[in-house]
Amino acid sequence: MKDKGVSLIEVVLVVVLIGLMILVLTNLPQALGLIGGSKHEVLARDIASKKIEDIRSQGFDSLGSGSSLIIDNRLDQLAGSSAQSLIEDCPVTACSNNEQVKKVTATVSWLEQGKLRSATVVTFVAKGGLQ
């Protein structure tokens, strides 16, 4: 008489398969969120970089210290977004010879799945520099 039943290897394979499925399906929302998050990260950094180049094109003599809001239509694509640029004198740690250099920081913040994220670009603009 032939025994009927399920072999051990079949049981193991099915358990592994179901386990993988559970693993993948539970991480699926997070993976989709990461895809969207990385796009927003690239966009935010691009907005900040553009602001940096706009500031650089003004020339050193036109720069005043302080912070100001960044206005960019693309900020609408980032939920709960805010962006600002900060111009300050070059810190002594970087400019020890009283160089006429301003430190420019552009920061874009937004909400990603309820969490606050930000992208920051930092550079120098100097008198007699690139512009």
Binding site: V14, L17, I18, L20, M21, V24, L25, N27, L28, Q30, A31, L32, L34, I35, G37, S38, K39, E41, V42, R45, S49, I52, R56, C90, P91, T93, A94, C95, N97, E99, Q100, V101, K103, T105, A119, T120, V121, V122, T123, F124, V125, A126, K127, G128, G129, L130
Partner: protein, 308 residues
């Protein structure tokens, strides 16, 4: 006794469906990993580029303020885990070397000093280029048809009492010469390969062998009788694409000195390497002192008022 035979496909169908769902899920997960990796690299690259620009800005400012940066300048951490290192190459071109200008577009003027730009003007015999000729190389070897460049060369000299200009025109496209009356430039099928002051890599000890489409033939006589050369100003015509250009000294035994002729030192290249995480970006700036504004070539000078 024959046992009843069971049959059915539900389990197989369920297994196949599960496999498909698993495949889709794995693909999405793999895509998210790739996207995160790319965005991380982009973020580091952006920080590195900004750091490289910051290094250039600081180097230029120090140089303008009369504080040369020497062999190397380190910016230190900019505050976002990025930093830059700037290396200058002063006094280009090296003795006997061709000076290459960064690629220029149509109607843009490239200036090459034939006297020491740091010396007083009008020029004196001891400070001028000692050779009698220079070779001018120009053009992107890939330029063809309507993008084939022509070159306007404006030689400025000093005759002892006033500045003189001599303009010559050369065309790489022989088909246009009949209409524009330009001289023909020497543009062989194999581009010219010469060593120039250009150093596009972060390794500032190497100079490049660069390819050029054409050479001016005959060579430009930079010392008309009784005149001292001051500068060459060259302008690209016709082509809508950027074209490279270089001026090379000519003569292995310059003025009987036994040394090759050399152009006066007149340019500096700053190479800034910005680093952030695993990314590095390089920004290079070509700087030449005392460059005359582009409208100089079109200005009209008069001892008195000009009435139209």
């Amino acid at each position: 006794m024959k046992l009843p035979q069971e049959s059915g496909q539900v389990v197989i169908i369920l297994l196949l469906t599960a496999l498909v769902a698993l495949t889709v899920g794995l693909a999405i997960t793999q895509r998210s990993i790739t996207d995160v990796s790319i965005s991380t690299q982009t973020e580091q690259s952006s920080r590195a580029f900004s750091a490289a620009e910051a290094g250039i800005e600081k180097a230029l400012q120090l140089e303008s303020a009369g504080s040369p940066i020497g062999d190397i300048l380190q910016t230190g951490d900019l505050g976002n885990e990025s930093s830059a290192q700037v290396r200058p190459i002063y006094d280009l071109p090296r003795p006997g070397q061709a000076l290459e200008y960064p690629p220029i577009g149509k109607e843009t003027v490239a200036q090459f000093w034939l006297t020491d730009p740091k010396g007083a003007l009008p020029p004196t015999l001891s400070l001028i280029y000692q050779g009698n000729e220079v070779d001018i190389y120009f053009g992107d070897p890939a330029s063809t048809g309507a993008d084939s460049p022509a070159l306007e060369v404006n030689l400025i000299t000093w005759n002892g009492t006033s500045y003189q200009t001599t303009r010559k025109y050369y065309d790489s496209d022989s088909g246009r010469i009949g209409a524009n009356g330009f001289d023909s430039a020497d543009c062989p099928a194999t581009p010219y390969l010469i060593n120039t002051s250009s150093s596009p890599s972060a390794d500032t000890t190497r100079y490049s062998d660069r390819k050029f489409k054409c050479q001016i033939t005959p060579s430009l006589d930079v010392k008309p009788s009784g005149q001292l050369p001051v500068m060459i100003r060259a302008r690209i015509l016709y082509s809508d694409t950027s074209q490279q250009m270089a001026v090379a000294p000519k003569g292995l035994n310059c003025n009987g000195t036994g040394n090759p002729c050399s152009l006066p030192a007149q340019a500096t290249i700053y190479t800034s390497v910005g680093t952030a995480g695993k990314s590095q970006r390089v920004v290079q700036v070509f700087r030449m002192d005392n460059v005359v504004p582009p409208f100089f070539d079109f200005a009209l000078f008069s001892a008195g008022e000009i009435s139209k």
